[in-house]
C-alpha cells in the first residue's frame, strides 16, 4: 500500500428525505432576487490520506461517515451530479478543519491504523435558470467566504503542501530612521503605533546601542496597542482649550467606582473580568467584549471567536471561574438595505446578521453556556462596521478570585496549537477599515473550535479545585505575548518559542509570539504540580506544554532554538508607552424641532414602531441560542402566555441548593448618540438598571459594565463626545450607586471607500449584573389577570429627540427628556421593596416606542387587553397626546398590581410618583383614551403582535 494514497468519499442525501439546508439555500437564492425553477442539493466530501486500502475507506464510510437511513455514499466523486451546476468548496490551506480532525480520530478508532489526514469539504449542486454571473454571485454571497475557503476542481490536491519558509528572527534597523520612515515602518508592519510612540522605541534602542529584533518590535506594538491598554480613554483631555482632565477613564469611570466603594466589589478593572460577591462562598464575574472588525470581514468566524474569547476571559479571571451565562448585543445596518446602496467592499447586512447569529449560536451552544440576554440594533452607519458585543458571566469559589505567578513557576500553555490565524488582531482592531480590508486583513480573522475550548474548560476547573496552579490568563488579543507579558510583569519571564506546539511548520518566531490562534490558556504552575496537571490534561486529550518559566529578572527573554530573539525590560514594555493629551471640543447646540408632532394616526404609528427592526421581536435570533442549558433558568428571555413576550432581562439561579439568583440586563441607545452623548450614556445606564429592577433584581446589589464603540478618535468633536459620555457615566453611576466593574473600548469604527468616510454613531453599551435574593420573587412583563389595576411609576415629559416617534414621523431635533438620577433611583428602591413583598404581578420598563409600545407588549405577551386613560398620567411640561403615547422619558415602569394588595402597595410607594392609569381587560384589545377624552388607539392585540413578529419572520 502506498504511504500517501488519497481517497475521496462523497456523501449525498437519499431521495425522499427533504434536506432543510438545501431548501434554505434555495430561499437565500430567491432572496438575491435571481433564478427560477431552482433546485439544490448539498453533499459532504471527505478526503482521506494515508496507507489505506479501498476496503478500509469503504468501512470508514459505512461505519462512521454516512448515516444509512438518510444518506448514501460513493468512493470517488459522486457521478449523480449531472444536470446541476457544481461548486466544490474546501478550506484554504492552513485554515483549521475541525470536522476533518474529528473524522481522523473516528477512522483511527475503527482500527484503520494507516490513516494520516482527513479534510472535509462541501459540494453545492444548484439547478435552475441562472446565468454565469448569477452563479458567481451565488458562490460569492452564499456558498463560501474567500477569507477562509476556496473553490476547488475535482482534480485539485486536497492536501496542498506549502514550502515552509525557514523560521528566522530579523533585526529591524530603526535607530537611523527619520519621522517619515518611522511612520512607514509602523504602517508596513501593521504596528499601529504613532510617531511619538515609534520615536520612544527608537530612543530606547539608541540607548541600548542596538536595533530591535522583529519579535521585540511586534511585542511592543502589541503591548502598546489601543486594544490592550486603551490609550485614548486613558489620555489626558483638554476641553475647549480650558478645563484639563488627567486620565479620562481614571477620573470618571474608575472614580465613580472608587467613590461608591461598594462592599460587593471584590476585584474591579484589574483582572480579565470584574468580580463581585454572590454569597458567603461564591463570587461572580462579568466581562463584555467587542469583536467588531473581524465580524465585518468574516461574520461567522468573527462572532464565534468573539464569544469564545470573552468566555476565556472568565476562565482566566482569578484562578478561573465557571462560565454560566452569555450575552450578545449586535448593531447592524438594516437587513433590507438594497444591494445597490452598499459601499464597495462591505458584506450585505443581512448576511452579516445571519453569520454573526450563527457564529454566536454555534460557539455558545457547543460550550454549553446559556445565552440569556441581548438585543439587535440597527442604524445605516453600521454598514461597514457592525458591532458585536459578547459577554460572559462566571461563578467561582471565593478563594479562587485572585492569582499571581511566582518566580520559578513553569509557564504551561494548554488547548489548541498555534497557527498563523489572527496575526495582528490586536493592532488590526485598533485601525479603521477600508474597502481593501477584506483582502489584506484576512490573517486577522481567527477560526474557532468550541470543543477544544470546552475540553480545556473541563480540565482546568478540575485542576483549579485541586489547586495545581498559581495563576492563569487567556491568550486573547496579542496571543502569548500579551498573556505571558501580563503574568510575568512583576517577575520576568523566559520562553523558548520552539516549544510552542504549531499547527503547521514555517511560522516565524514573531508570529508564534503574537499569533491569536484561539482556544489557548496560559498557566503559572509550581514545578511540583506540573506532572499532575499535564496528566489530567492528557486524560481528556487536552494538549499541554511547558514553554518556559517565570524568572526574577524583570525582563522578557525569548529564545528560538536557543538563540535570543527578544530581551527587553518588563518596565519598558508595560510603562514605556507615553501618556498623551487630547484637545477636545464639546459643543452644546440646542436644536429646535424640525417638523410637526402628529396629532392623529396613532394606531398607524404604533404599528410602524412595533415592526421597526429595533423594536420588533428577535425570537428568530433568541431561539437559536440554548438559554436553558445548565438548568439554571428562572426568568427567560421570552415570557408570557405563549412564551413569546420580550422580557426586560433574564435571571438564573446558579446553585442547586440556593434560590439566590443573578439578573442580567443591558441598556443601549444608538439614536441619542448622534444627538447628545451625555444623555445617551445617562439613558443607557438608566435603562440597564431599570430593566434589572423590572424583573426583581435588587438595585442596592447591582454593578455595571461599560463598552464604548466609537468612530474616529482623531476628530476633536468625536473625542468631545467621548468625554461627555464618560462624564455622564460618572454622574449617573455615583447617584445610582452602581459601580463599574469592568469595561472595554473599540475605537476607530469607521469605513472609508472612494474618498468617503462612514462613521458609526457613538455607541455605549451598559450591561448590568445584579443579585436577586430569591428567584421565586421575580416578575415578568406579561399581563397576568383581567381586572387587575395598572400603574405607572415616574413622570412623563415632553420631547421627542431620538425617539421612534421621530423616526416614523420624520422629525428632527427637539429636546430629549433628561435622566433625573436622584428621582429615578429613589423610585426603583421603593418599587423593589414592593416587588419583594409580592404586590407586583407584572412589570415592564417604558423605553423604545414609549407607553404605547410597552402596553402593547405587555398585553399581547399576556394574551389580555387593557384600557388606559392618558389624562391620568403624571406629567411635567405639558406633553401632547403623541408625546405621552410615544415619548421616551426615562425612569418609567408600568406595574400590574393585585387588587387586594392595592392599599398596601400605595402605602409602600407613597414617596414616589405612582398613579393608576387603567385596568386589564379580557377582551384582547388595547384601548387608550387621549388627552381630549376621545379614544386614540383601539387595536386588536393579536394584530399588534403580528406586526411585532413579522419583521424577523425569517
Amino acid at each position: 500500500m502506498p504511504n500517501d494514497a488519497i481517497f475521496v468519499i462523497e456523501i449525498s442525501k437519499k431521495d425522499g428525505f427533504p434536506d432543510p439546508f438545501a431548501n434554505g439555500l434555495i430561499d437565500d437564492i430567491r432572496d438575491l432576487g435571481i433564478g427560477t425553477k431552482l433546485n439544490a442539493r448539498i453533499n459532504t466530501v471527505f478526503w482521506l490520506k494515508g496507507a489505506i486500502s479501498e476496503g478500509e475507506v469503504d468501512n470508514a464510510a459505512k461505519e462512521l461517515l454516512c448515516d444509512p437511513v438518510v444518506e448514501r455514499y460513493s468512493i470517488g466523486f459522486s457521478n449523480s451530479n449531472s444536470g446541476y451546476h457544481s461548486f466544490l468548496i474546501g478550506f484554504l490551506p492552513g485554515v483549521s478543519d475541525p470536522a476533518g480532525a474529528t473524522a481522523l480520530r473516528g477512522i483511527s478508532e475503527l482500527g484503520i491504523d494507516g490513516i494520516r489526514q482527513v479534510k472535509t469539504g462541501k459540494r453545492f449542486l444548484i439547478a435552475g435558470d441562472l446565468t454565469n454571473n448569477e452563479l458567481e454571485l451565488i458562490r460569492d454571497k452564499l456558498l463560501m467566504n474567500k477569507v477562509i475557503q476556496r473553490t476547488m476542481a475535482d482534480t485539485d490536491d486536497p492536501f496542498p503542501k506549502g514550502t515552509p519558509i525557514k523560521p528566522i528572527s530579523e533585526t529591524v534597523p530603526i535607530r537611523k530612521l527619520d519621522g517619515d520612515a518611522l511612520d512607514k515602518l509602523s504602517k508596513d508592519r501593521v504596528l499601529a503605533l504613532n510617531r511619538t510612540e515609534m520615536t520612544i522605541i527608537q530612543d530606547y534602542y539608541i540607548k541600548l546601542d542596538r536595533d530591535p529584533s522583529d519579535v521585540e518590535l511586534e511585542t511592543l506594538a502589541q503591548t502598546w496597542s489601543e486594544h490592550c491598554i486603551h490609550k485614548t480613554l486613558t489620555s489626558d483631555y483638554v476641553i475647549n482649550d480650558k478645563k484639563k482632565i488627567t486620565n479620562l477613564l481614571k477620573s470618571t469611570v474608575f472614580a465613580a467606582t472608587s467613590e461608591i466603594n461598594h462592599p460587593m466589589c471584590v476585584s474591579v478593572f484589574k483582572d480579565n473580568a470584574g468580580i463581585i460577591r454572590f454569597d458567603d462562598e461564591h463570587n461572580i464575574c462579568f466581562k463584555v467584549e467587542t469583536h467588531n472588525h473581524p465580524s465585518a470581514i468574516e461574520p461567522y468566524g468573527g462572532a464565534g471567536t468573539g464569544i469564545g474569547g470573552v468566555i476565556r476571559d472568565i476562565l482566566g479571571c482569578g484562578l478561573g471561574a465557571k462560565p454560566i451565562a452569555n450575552t450578545d448585543i449586535f448593531c447592524f445596518a438594516d437587513p433590507e438595505t438594497s444591494r445597490d446602496e452598499l459601499p464597495k467592499g462591505t458584506l450585505h447586512p443581512k448576511r452579516i446578521m445571519k453569520g454573526v447569529v450563527a457564529g454566536v449560536r454555534d460557539y455558545g451552544n457547543r460550550m454549553g453556556i446559556p445565552t440569556i440576554n441581548g438585543s439587535v440594533n440597527f442604524h445605516p452607519n453600521y454598514v461597514g462596521n457592525p458591532l458585536v458585543y459578547c459577554g460572559t458571566v462566571g461563578i467561582m469559589p471565593k478563594w479562587a478570585s485572585f492569582g499571581d505567578a511566582e518566580t520559578g513557576d513553569k509557564i504551561l500553555v494548554i488547548g489548541g496549537a498555534t497557527g498563523r490565524d489572527g496575526i495582528h488582531g490586536a493592532t488590526f482592531s485598533s485601525l479603521e477599515l477600508d474597502e481593501g480590508s477584506e483582502i489584506h486583513s484576512s490573517g486577522a480573522v481567527q477560526i474557532g473550535n468550541p470543543i477544544t475550548e470546552k475540553k480545556f474548560t473541563d480540565v482546568m476547573l478540575k485542576c483549579r479545585d485541586k489547586k495545581l496552579f498559581r495563576a492563569v490568563t487567556d491568550c486573547g488579543a496579542g496571543g502569548l505575548s500579551s498573556a505571558v507579558g501580563e503574568m510575568g510583569e512583576r517577575t520576568g519571564a523566559k520562553v523558548e518559542l520552539n516549544l510552542v506546539p504549531l499547527k503547521y511548520e514555517g511560522l516565524q518566531p514573531w508570529e508564534i509570539w503574537v499569533s491569536e490562534a484561539q482556544e489557548r490558556m496560559v498557566f503559572a504552575v509550581p514545578p511540583e504540580n506540573v506532572d499532575e496537571m499535564i496528566q489530567i490534561c492528557d486524560e481528556e486529550d487536552v494538549q499541554s506544554t511547558i514553554i518556559g518559566e517565570y524568572t526574577d529578572t524583570n525582563r522578557l527573554e525569548l529564545t528560538y532554538d536557543g538563540n535570543i530573539v527578544c530581551d527587553i525590560e518588563m518596565d519598558f514594555m508595560h510603562n514605556g508607552c507615553p501618556q498623551s493629551t487630547k484637545q477636545v471640543v464639546v459643543k452644546h447646540e440646542p436644536r429646535p424641532l424640525d417638523g410637526v408632532i402628529p396629532q392623529d394616526g396613532f394606531e398607524d404609528i404604533l404599528n410602524k414602531i412595533l415592526s421597526h427592526p429595533d423594536v420588533a421581536s428577535k425570537e428568530w435570533v433568541v431561539r437559536q441560542y440554548d438559554h436553558e442549558v445548565q438548568g439554571q433558568s428562572a426568568v427567560k428571555p421570552f415570557v408570557g402566555a405563549c412564551n413569546d413576550g420580550p422580557s426586560d432581562g433574564s435571571v438564573i439561579r446558579p446553585l442547586r441548593d440556593s434560590k439566590k439568583g443573578i439578573a442580567i440586563t443591558h441598556g443601549i441607545n444608538t439614536r441619542l448618540g448622534e444627538i447628545d452623548s451625555y444623555q445617551m450614556a445617562a439613558h443607557s445606564i438608566d435603562e440597564a438598571v431599570r430593566n434589572a429592577v423590572a424583573i426583581g433584581a435588587d438595585p442596592k446589589q447591582m454593578a455595571i459594565l461599560d463598552n464604548f464603540a466609537w468612530g474616529s478618535v482623531s476628530k476633536p468633536e468625536s473625542l468631545g463626545a467621548l468625554y461627555e459620555t464618560c462624564r455622564a457615566c460618572y454622574d449617573v453611576a455615583v447617584k445610582y450607586k452602581t459601580p463599574f466593574i469592568s469595561g472595554k473600548d473599540s475605537l476607530n469604527n469607521e469605513y472609508s471607500y472612494g474618498g468617503e468616510m462612514i462613521q458609526i454613531p457613538h455607541t455605549l453599551l451598559i450591561s448590568s449584573i445584579a443579585i436577586v435574593e430569591d428567584v421565586d420573587k421575580t416578575v415578568t412583563m406579561d399581563f397576568k389577570r383581567a381586572g387587575n389595576p395598572l400603574y405607572i411609576l415616574g413622570i412623563t415629559k415632553p420631547g421627542v429627540a431620538g425617539s421612534y416617534l421621530s423616526i416614523i414621523a420624520g422629525l428632527h431635533g427637539g429636546s430629549i427628556p433628561n435622566v433625573e438620577p436622584d428621582t429615578h433611583i429613589r423610585d426603583y428602591m421603593v418599587l423593589h421593596d414592593a416587588i419583594t413583598k409580592e404586590f407586583v404581578v407584572s412589570c415592564h420598563d417604558v423605553s423604545d416606542g414609549g407607553i404605547a409600545a410597552a402596553l402593547s407588549e405587555m398585553a399581547f405577551a399576556g394574551g389580555l387587553g387593557v384600557s388606559v386613560d392618558l389624562a391620568k398620567f403624571p406629567t411635567r411640561g405639558n406633553p401632547s397626546t403623541a408625546e405621552i403615547l410615544f415619548g421616551e422619558s426615562p425612569g418609567r415602569l408600568i406595574v400590574e398590581i393585585l387588587p387586594e394588595k392595592e392599599t398596601v402597595f400605595m402605602r409602600v410607594m407613597q414617596s414616589c410618583s405612582i398613579t393608576m392609569i387603567g385596568i386589564i381587560q379580557d377582551d384582547g384589545r388595547l384601548r387608550i383614551r387621549g388627552l381630549d377624552g376621545e379614544t386614540c388607539i383601539d387595536a386588536d392585540i393579536y394584530k399588534l403582535k403580528k406586526q411585532w413578529q413579522k419583521t424577523f419572520d425569517w
Binding site: F17, P20, A99, A103, R366, V629, A641, G862
Partner: protein, 261 residues
Amino acid sequence: MAKFPKALIMRGPGTNCDQEAKWALELAGAQVDDCHINRLMKNPRILRDYQLLALPGGFTYGDDISAGAVLALEIRKFFGDELTAFINTGNLVVGICNGFQVLIKSGFLPGNGLENKTTLFFNDSARFECRWIYLKKNVKNKSPFLTLLPDIIPCPVAHAEGKFIVDDENTLQKIQSNNQVAFEYVDKSGNHGDYPINPNGSVAHIAGITDITGRVLGMMPHPERNIFANQLPDIRRDNHKGSAVGLKLFKGAIEYITSNL
C-alpha cells in the same frame, strides 16, 4: 436491593448538560459520579459499580460528522459488550438529547433488530431551536422511567438534529406495536400538532423511545431542566402552583433501582 442507588454520567469532549443531569439524579436520590469516555474505553468495568448510566446532552466531538456519531462509534467499539451486559442484568440507561443521538447511532435504540433503521436528522427548520414544549407519555410503555410521570410533561428542547425518522413504515409500525414509543410531542391539552408543537418534524410526533425492555430510554427533550418549580415558564401565570414534573422521570428510575436491583 440497592439501598444507595449509584448513577454514572458519561462525559465526552463537548458534553455540556452534565450539571443538570447530575442535579436531577441527585435530587432523585442517587449518588452520582461522572466519568470521561477515555477512562471508560480503557476500563469498561467501571460501569459495574453502578445501576444507572446517563448520557447527557451536548455536542460530543462537535457533532462534526453527525450528532453523536463519533461517541456512538467509541461506545460500540470499546464499550459495547460491557454496556450490553449492563443492560441485560437489569440496569438502566438514559440518553438525553446528544445522549439519545448516541444511543440511536450506536444501535442500543431501538434495538431488537431495528439498528440502523432509525436516525435523528436535522430539524425541519434547519436550525438549532430552544423552546419549551409538552410531552405526552405513552401509558402502554412500562418503562421504569415513566412510572411516576403525569400524562403531560412540559420540558425544554434545545437541539438542531432532533427529527426522529425511520427508514420505512414497517420500522415505525414495529416501534409502535412494541410500545417502544415513550413520549410524543403534543400541545398543553395533549393534542398533536404541527410546528412548533412538534418542534423538529419528527415522524409520528415521536420525542423519545425505549428499547423493548423499557430499561433504555432515549429522548430529545430535557426533563432534567424541569426539576425546580421556578424553571417553569408559566410559573407566574399559575399562581406559583406548578410543580417540576421532570424530576419524576429520575425518581421513577431510582425507585425502580431501590426496589429491584
